[in-house]
Amino acid sequence: MDLGAINPILLIAALMSAATPILLAATGELVVERSGVLNLGVEGMMIVGAICGFAIAVETGSPMIGFVAAAVGGAALSLLFALLTQVALANQVASGLALTLFGLGLSALLGQSYVGVKPPRMGDVDFGLLADIPVLGPILFSHDPVLYIGVLLVAAVWATLKLTRLGLILRAVGENHDAAHALGYKVVRIRTLAIMFGGALAGMGGAYISLIRVPQWTEGMTAGVGWIALALVVFASWKPWRVLLGAYLFGGITQLQLNLQGAGVAIPVEYLAMSPYIITIVVLVILSADRSAAPGSLGRTFHASN
């Protein structure tokens, strides 16, 4: 065992990267839930995003186009969920599970010819001299662009929800869809757009795993990250900045257990590997006391009756 092999600066830099898939997916799901919809299909949208992004990046040679494709793929799958829950008025829990089961199958099918392929590498953003600052340089200024996009998206979602009329309408629809409808807002349209936004971000989160974290394609490679993202939204009490905090916390745990595995700690690998899931449960338990922050219409089906 050699704990000295773990470099704290590299650990922090790596945890930011480990957190990004969860961060993207949870930010998207936060918007979906704030509009009053519970989409349990995050895992399915992520894995479909992971293969779409991977395949397109390999075919075009451009990781950035891959990420765009991942967003499109995730959004397209989420549109199925929107059809089920907003048009066919199906139960949101069941539809979300269906989306995940379907997405896992679809991604495996799409990914058959990509097993073992190496994707093009995404370069880091060039901050010039900033990257050479001791400690701060490697932590803050030596990452790929998508990581920064993730953080910017959190800020954008926060600002939109807090400061803009669009955000106010979104919150209103999530809080009380009947009242929003009575005031003349298009509940179904707003929710559908929110669901697609969530799908796009989940897709990007998935692609971050297959293109940057791992980087290669294996079936079921998201391994529950989508579910952790769902837990994170609860953990964050539906607040964007807390999603960031939570994502970095989980990223830290994931990265730490990977480093401990690498360092050959006396704990068996399997027990280290189950730790992120167990910690998710523990965090859920601690925070489930406060449900008051949940949007009022979350998970309820809306039908405009006369």
Binding site: L168, R171, E175, A179, A180, A182, L183, G296, N306
Partner: protein
């Protein structure tokens, strides 16, 4: 002079019902126009057409002589129509200012809007703090949010749907002052109600609807309440009767019943004490949201209480659950018919089983006797004249009045010692309401005790022996209903809520 709004020949049909049939009326600027009718007469459908929520099948509307056909509420608001809903279209978790911004087309920045809210609320005597969270407001204050939301749009026509059902008498007076001021400034008001005295006090003209048709118009000040009632109902209803009964021994006693609030926007119960005797009806009034649901849950056993706070026939039942209380004879009928008193998608037989299992012996060692439950449901249906093809029909297929008769009948037929009902006739047509009230009176005459929780003061004055009011989770000391004045009742209900803000 062309009227502000004129409706001619409006017709709207839904499967199985014609909600509006050839309805015409005219409203002039500054006029306070009453739309009078029973539940189900078509008042709501009519105003929804004016507000752009529903499109008429036939007929046309004109505003200032020009055709008016709003495709959605936004268009109606742009044309100067404001509406205060009966069930508020408010968002509990948002602030007053945010709620108001959502109802405006071009909402200014929140800071400017807050300033405007303060101005309007001063001008019209409607005190309201812009940055409070709506979920914490009283019903009267919530109504003010809706009214100010409309006023900020500078409406030419303000539609008020049953505005006084959530107010104390004092708050009603404040509202009327505001409406008179508005009318004097030239705003027309379409005032929907079934309360005749209010209409006589406030309105210039009244249009009376029955079963979707206009059955008459009148000048309320010159018409007796009785004449208007006859036009509205179509026949003179028998007032409920009861033989005078001397109250018997105490059957139910609450001893400083206190419970925490069940949810973020619920109401705690605070030291409620009362004694209920056999043969009496205790009426509990109060504005919605002051602890009515919580009190019913504490009595039915849905929320158990600490030891010693609830005594039934001399025994402590505070910690017992609903079925144990039913077994002893304490029954209840909650306000919310669909989802609380009855399961919407389940048949009437299954709904009869829901509360009847214990006392009707439909449950033998855990196994359910469905034929007997069906028999029980059939007995309820015939004894309470529930209109339905049969007990196999789902609860949600029944009209509000019929389902309410079923729910009340289900408890009454189980021969309760004490029956607690919440809003027994809310949203129920007049004949069903009369039948329900008569059943409650008969129950008391037979020696049971009844607690009627209701927001309809007229109803309570009509059937209750004693009256008490819930305010902020506290219960006032019960008073005999005979000789109780409106002012006294209003004070028991807490006077005018939230007026202190005005004097900041």
């Amino acid at each position: 002079m062309t009227p502000l709004l004129s409706l001619s020949g409006l017709t709207k049909a839904y499967p199985g019902v014609i909600a509006n049939d050839d309805v015409s009326l005219q409203i002039a600027a500054g006029e306070v126009h009453a739309l009078l009718g029973e539940n189900g007469a078509g008042k709501s459908t009519l105003v929804k057409m004016i507000y752009g929520l529903v499109k008429p099948d036939q007929g046309e509307m004109q505003m200032h002589g020009a055709p008016f056909a709003p495709a959605e509420p936004r268009a109606a608001r742009a044309a100067g129509v404001g509406m205060v809903f009966q069930h508020f279209s408010l968002f509990d978790a948002l602030t007053v200012a945010e709620n108001i911004a959502l109802g405006m087309e071009n909402a200014p920045k929140l800071r400017d809007l807050s300033e405007q809210i303060r101005q309007v609320s001063d001008t019209y005597g409607l005190p309201l703090a812009p940055n409070r969270v709506v979920g914490d407001l009283s019903a009267g204050e919530r109504q003010r949010v809706e009214i100010i939301r409309c006023l900020l749009q500078d409406p030419k026509l303000l539609i008020m749907d049953e505005p006084t059902s959530v107010l104390t008498p004092q708050e009603v007076q404040i509202l009327f002052e505001t409406l008179r001021k508005l009318s004097a400034d030239g705003t027309a008001i379409l005032y929907i109600s079934h309360k005749l005295e209010e209409i006589r006090a406030l309105c210039d003209t009244a249009t009376i609807l029955r079963l979707g048709r206009v059955v008459g118009t009148c000048v309320p000040r010159d018409t007796t309440a009785r004449d208007m009632a006859e036009m509205m109902v179509g026949k003179v209803l028998a007032t409920p009767t009861r033989a005078g009964v001397e109250p018997g021994e105490i059957v139910l006693a609450l001893n400083k019943l206190s419970l925490p609030s069940p949810s973020a926007f619920g109401m705690p119960l605070r030291e409620i004490s009362l004694e209920l005797r056999r043969g009496e009806i205790l009426g509990i009034g109060g504005v919605a949201g002051n602890g009515q649901d919580e009190l019913l849950a504490a009595l039915s056993g849905e929320t158990p209480a600490p030891v010693g706070m609830v005594q039934f026939q001399g025994a402590d039942i505070a910690t017992l659950g609903p079925n144990a209380r039913r077994k002893q004879g304490l029954l209840a009928a909650p306000e919310e018919r669909l989802g609380h008193a009855a399961a919407p998608d389940m048949s009437l037989t299954e709904n009869a089983m829901l509360t009847g299992a214990v006392r009707e012996r439909l449950d033998r060692g855990g196994f359910l006797n469905w034929p007997a439950a069906r028999g029980f449901a059939e007995r309820i249906i015939s004894a309470f004249d529930v209109r339905t093809p049969g007990p196999a029909n789902a609860a949600r297929s029944l009209s509000g009045g019929n389902l309410q008769k079923f729910v009340i009948g289900r408890e009454v037929l189980q021969r309760p010692e004490v029956l607690v009902v919440n809003q027994p006739t809310w949203g129920v047509d007049a004949s069903a309401a009369a039948a329900i009230r008569q059943a409650l009176l008969d129950l008391a005459t037979g020696g049971a005790a009844v607690i009627v929780i209701s927001q309809d003061l007229d109803e309570l004055m009509e059937i209750a022996d004693r009256f008490a009011a819930l305010n902020e989770g506290r219960l006032s000391a019960p008073q005999p209903t005979k000789g109780l004045s409106v002012e006294q009742i209003g004070l028991m209900m807490g006077g005018a809520h939230g007026m202190e803000v005005a004097h900041v």
